[in-house]
Amino acid sequence: MASLAAAQVQEVRSITRIERIGAHSHIRGLGLDDALEPRAVSQGMVGQKMARKAAGVVLQMIREGKIAGRAVLLAGQPGTGKTAIAMGLAQALGPDTPFTSMAGSEIYSLEMSKTEALTQAIRKSIGIRIKEESEIIEGEVVEVIVERAAGGGGARTGRLTLKTTDMETNYDMGTKMIDSLLKEKVQAGDVITIDKATGKINKLGRSFARARDYDATGQQARFVQCPEGELQKRKEVVHTVTLHEVDVINSRTHGFLALFSGDTGEIKSEVREQISGKLQEWREEGKAEMIPGVLFIDEAHMLDIECFSFLNRALESETAPVVMMATNRGITRIRGTDYRSPHGIPLDLLDRMIIVPTAPYTHQELREILNIRCEEEDCQMSADALTVLTRVATETSLRYAIQLITTASLVAKRRKAAEVSMEDVKKVYSLFLDEHRSEQFLKEYQDEFMFNDAAGDAPQLMEVTQ
């Protein structure tokens, strides 16, 4: 039992380590009801009703999985929730649907060509559900021991004892396995299966033998028999892999090692064709099922003309995912050309897209968002402080106002107050400049900065060059 307590202490620690608060970690879905109507405030989403409703329709289209290669463009000013909607969509789709998120500038790598990077991203967004015989460990947990090697930060080692009615075996676990065991809250008396190849843990329920420990079980605990016979069995399990993973496994002799090191390099088109052919075969025979997912390209205006024309073609393929792009640009130059076009995207591609606009938030919505962020960042804020913060958000930007939440809460903590007051917000407002005030400041003291030769052409240099 002592070991169990140790595991639980470990658990608290590891969760604070894993889950950091990101810019969109308050988003848990699109905030739609069953009829795909947007709720005013739900799942971390506020306002933007039309855009969310549109995303809900797209969600339905993806779930049905029949339509391949549609493109959706989320267009709107900075800080109007484009990425939030995409993240919400990913959450609403669930973990089984592949969702690849990338920034437009990610394709510019020295290791592979732009089109290769795009192809990989596209194929990462297509999943295959395939039945395969796999080695499964199935048994009742006798003991879980997690130890940290001497000296803080040392590698953790784990030991898991499993039994069936006929045998008992000890297993050594690595870090990843320990993490997933703790995440699943596996404890002595649980009957679990572990896929030996993928490390996936499945909790079947509590063992009947443990039915007396009422305090250790929740209400919804399911009781199952302790398995019989051998601990390791071969069973048919359903694996979900992405097309890209299949590509990598087949592209080299030591393919799957490359998957772990991340060094995949370019994949020959013959390999891809072969796999697409095989996939077609499997689907006809009913051996595999295709799960079209979503490729989300943020900052899509950073793609250049070659990428756009490549996408034009790629979207026509049967195995194309739904491509979602987001941009905050208006009419601007298409990268790699001298032509100007709405959103920096060529007209022929725009013509293939459905465009979802996002509009700036209202005062009330901003307040609601800031309130959600305060909760997410674990910060108590007084009503008047929130009012001030909302005004800051309307006058400067939502992002800047969000930045002030944790900073203000730190200031409040320093004066040992439980709640963030208006003064704290004012203090951090004066400590940290927003973009507009910073510009003002620069204009005022321009002459005293270095390399200052009467600006004017500098912004043009900032434009991307090709």
């Binding site: 045998m167 000890n170 030996k196 496994i249 002799t253």
Partner: protein, 257 residues
Amino acid sequence: MKRKTSPIDSTGSGVSTILYKISSLTEEISPNIDSGLCTKKIIIPGNHVEQAMAYKNSIWYKSLLNAEKTCLKEDQIKKIHYKFEDGNEMVEEYNADTRVLLRRAWKVKGKIGGEGKWLVEIGDPIPDAVTNTDALDIKESKDQPVLLKRNTKINIEWRIRNLPYPIETYSIKANDEEKHIVISTSNKKYYKKLEVPELVRVGLPIEQSKINATHQFNTLIITYNKPQTLIEMEKEWYQELNKIKPMKDIPNECKTQ
């Protein structure tokens, strides 16, 4: 035809899939052989020649004959690579002096492709060229029982190391219906179903009387006396293998495998 699959050994049991492909084939025809044998036995009781010929009709023996074979002789070890008509690959290693099979391994490929890996049916496991600790994040502790299968001229032999319990603990039973030998322990610490593909392939029964077990130095050794038919088949097959010319020039990279 349906039957519980169970691993051959604790490390790699993917081989059972392939074993079944072949064993199920033999099973289809084995009743015919059996009945054929029975009638013949009545006419000429205990005729060894007739019995010995039975394996030649088994699908297994035929598939061995039809397989594309490559031979490689390295020191005193003769390595044979088989490529069967159904695409499966197998490797056998013989001691050229004693003519005993040292190792037999099957190539197991995943459904989604890739190189696949060798799963050992008989002999010591092949050590990994690259140890990949990431892939296998869970494995048996070092002090847990390890099963090894060995082959001698007259016996099939299983060695289970790290089993400290005295000999009375174990009960070893042949289960001919499900075609395996079951090892269980009275203290419920160890349980294993051993497959005997050698017998299943040529349609021979698993007999309790042929099983012997000893326990020494934390190791449980289970031996199964090979039936005469099997011994003769192996002898004859080795003769057959002598017809294959060993490869002369071996590229350097091939030496490791």
